[in-house]
Symmetry: D3
Subunit: 238 residues, 6 copies
């Protein structure tokens, strides 16, 4: 039995709200149950130095948590003077995942920065960030297309992410914090809406996992992610 | 004529929402028009090193803005590796203002940290933070009183803040970004609900201001702040 | 009775020495009683990046204290790896105050940096820095005019600053450390020699202050600052 | 055809040298072809603050590359003033992988730090670090057992790691830099010598990967890792 | 001919002023011609962590330059966020030199910090700092002896320092900036008043130096330093 | 008797290995007994900003130690977030010494960075770094000459370094860690193969040293360094 009473293959309520704040070119509040992340997309002309002269654009991401997004307060990273290893790891993952969704050659001299800021955490903040970040990015790209600043749509496919794990011996999808902190295995899966894998990151927390468990988790992930694509499509169409 | 069409003595719509996020001992969303700040209060046992053995508690504040809370993206302070001077100045102001609301001797060995994070900025983020931060702190203190962790209520009086300024020669209250960026003078006023001043910070932006203008601005501030105390009381009673 | 035996409206001995060190374009030692600050003005060609192409100049300030300028040693900020919030707040105030003294349009492509380094502290270091910093800046500008590097004098008016406060219930001017550390209210006032206010920063330290106290403090400040303009004029004429 | 002429399932020459430097409790040079990493294990009494009173030990890892371990020089991280995101990500992976190899309860109040420093890089530095780091840790633990500082062997199983990927459409094992920089997919796999997975981290570099490719890569990884366990055993027995 | 018209063995005017600022336990202004350094000695109870339980005291030094102590402005190290290599090198030299002047065993649980801050630079700031720093330290120690906080005088001998160099082929003493920036060789010599060497640091700037030049420079240094001991004695007796 | 049983004028076994790693333009492993340092030379086009337009090249050095190069583990400088004073001092010494070996005017627009990384420390790491760093630099320069990227050989003379000291009252050469940590005096000497001094840095550790001891140490250093030139020549010719 899961702490939340959910079935093993049952995700939490997923909610994606567009135009959540007013300044950004794309702005989304994404909720995976009690996990709430603000994802904004900022469009800027120009590309980072290492891409000058490459005739392509760039997509990058940054991630942060409000100090009291969690049960106990975490020191503010700006006050500590650096982003922690976990933060850097997550924002690198979000950036890679969203870059995999676009053809950078089709957005020359355009940079998009996705900021994912967790205002309330309950497990799965990185998967919610990728899922919501895609919508913020797509929304910003749609504006650029509408205004003629982009000629061709650089989006190759949708990208979304979900967590899976083994909890008390049973593979489950979309772990909340209670499950996540006790799970034997924790895996984050990023996929395209054409069933391709973008990232698979599985970690044995309490015990090594078997090939069979890996397969079961990947199946659950695929099933869960397909629900996310529906939610993304609905909000993008709205 | 103000860009927003407001009267000189008219504040924006003020909205304070309690229990905005679920983990913190006090959690408030405060809105001054389009300026939106999440204020959380975290209660911890113990006091900073410089107060050890002083038989009192402590209240402090931290402030941040999401990178895209504003019209153009600001670099994330955690990524830059330090908080800017403006940020430090604001969080010092919030901390002093909220400490002035309590008798620290009545909360021995208790520290309260108020985190003010701006998710959307449109002028007046520091005054919104003080006004909302007071509610988050009061809410946390009420819980401590209810649970018997505090014997006596340390709150001395309510504290709230509002901005005033001189815009096109006319003293006005609660400036939004459009006004703030063009005002000749900008002043932030922090007061108690017993008409006492906690902080007065006036800055000539475009031209020196006169004694008469100062008096007019302080009158407007007092009038505006009294509305804030009503809003604070309503949400605290709810 | 004030600890120093001064009358409420009596400032400390004010002394401003020009050409205090030999390398800087302007170099001043300013003394407000036992508070001693070296203020140097450095003239450089060019402006910061954010002003490129704006056809104006720039004035900025930096502030520091020698580690043992005070009764107990403070950690050296260079060794700590960052300037503290108090330091940043003070140098921002000095910079704003001195920029308010000039028409930046009349000093195109010229940057002046005012360094204020406290070698001995006894209260009022920020007001001494503004008052002495103005002289260092004016001295540097006079050289630029004499050498023909500036065509028109960018100085609009003199600027000086003094502290006022409420000490044992009595409004007093130019607080030394003994008073400052016990005052109920502390206020720094920056004015022009045409009676305009540039900055008013009042803080309730021990108790809120009333409108009447505020008025009394501002009157004292105006009277004290007029003495500073005389001292500035004398040294600039010498 | 692989650039090196190797078969898809053929690893590079693997060489593990014990007692490579003289000071550390465990010291190993691990070579995966031209990739060379010095792994040292340092044993210290005591545990980090967050484990005080938990009656267990700790294992952690740090990772670095000499600035010219690669084809072009990378800025020295100590000179830059921080470890990059890639470095932090890798050292977190090494630490998790090696902690999974031991029962921390069986090494109370003992901390082991594994330093992995790459002196020459040619792809696969993180997998070489895990594989060599395990030997350094095991060597240090064997000394502690021999000296009676540990009563029971905390090692649960061997741990080793290898990279796999899809290169020009073909799944291959143990990618060198030439392959790695062009591979469509890159995956790092950490396993126990009982066929359990510790970490699986797959990333689509140029194109999403399919479930079939994932399975093929995991098979190759298992086969390659089994060779690593033989090499580890040989050097530990010597 | 030296730029200053001095003889090769002629030092600049040396001036040491005691009680220069009022807060520190020892406070000295030392002048070697136009080089002016404030040296303060701070006495604190306790020793650094690495000396706990060692039954001895500690002496350390810190060094800084005001940004405009030199002909062109140097960036403030506190603003840059770190002390430069030159600064660290100099303060390590000052600390070693002053520790060599005392028997740390005779000042148990007492730490003395010497802050050397250059307010005007014209060559030789490190030698002036050592020479003035010794007087500040001795003054602070004399107070501790007078107050009975030290039982035995820990001072073993006086310590002072001077620079020597080869300028246009001629060995000279106490180089000012004009000479220093063009000298073929630059050497700093720290000695005791019993003719012992504490530090000898010679650097070929433009050309290697010979054994004969080294000997000539050391002779000049010894002669110059003996004048410094006279100046130190005079001010300590005053 | 020296702890190692060596004669006072006897160096440790000196071994210099060329082409130690494969990527760098020059790569050397230098061994002074158990002290082992990897020295790589990286050639880059362009010069640092302060040399732009000066029609010359540049040589600089960086130094580091693996955390467990020593008997107890040192915190990794990259993790601490800064290089320590000792590290900066050493790398500045190496850089100055190697720049003294070349005519920078003969290598226009070429920068060479020498990285010296200590993989095992037993005293004398800075002298080994200079001695090995020269070979790495010379090797890189020889390649540039062979490829025609340099027209004229910028090398003026060989440079090497050795430590000398006074141990139990006897001047000795090339101190290992056991001697170094107990020596009364420690001196590092850098010379050219034409008997010129580049750097002489002598420090009294336990007691001041005399002029006679200084002379004896310099004689020993000269004798020892001549052996190093033979070793450098052999490996460069090979």
């Amino acid at each position: 039995m899961r702490p939340s009473g959910r079935q093993p293959d049952q995700t939490r309520d997923i909610k994606i709200t567009k135009n959540y704040t007013k300044h950004a070119e794309g702005s989304v509040l994404v909720e995976f149950g009690d996990t709430k992340v603000i994802c904004t997309a900022t469009v800027e002309n120009g590309v980072p130095r290492f891409l000058r002269g490459e005739d392509q654009g760039w997509v990058t991401a940054e991630y942060g948590m409000l100090p009291r997004a969690t049960g106990t307060r975490n020191q503010r990273e700006a006050a500590r003077g650096k982003q922690g290893g976990r933060t850097l790891e997550i924002q690198r993952l979000i950036g890679r995942s969203l870059r995999a969704a676009v053809d950078l050659k089709k957005m020359p001299d355009i940079s998009i920065t996705i900021d994912c800021d967790v205002i309330q955490a309950d497990g799965g903040t990185r998967t919610a960030s990728i899922t919501g970040g895609f919508v913020a990015m797509a929304d910003a790209i749609n504006s650029l297309l509408a205004k003629g600043q982009l000629k061709n749509n650089p989006i190759l496919h949708k990208v979304a992410a979900i967590s899976v794990g083994v909890y008390e011996g049973v593979p489950v999808v979309d772990l909340d914090y209670d499950e996540d902190s006790k799970a034997e295995t924790d895996m984050n899966v990023v996929m395209t809406d054409q069933d391709g894998f973008i990232e698979v990151q599985g970690t044995a927390e309490a015990a090594p996992f078997s090939s069979a468990e890996l397969t079961a988790m990947l199946d659950l992930a695929g099933k869960g992610i397909r629900q996310l694509f529906v939610a993304q499509e609905e909000v993008l169409q709205s």
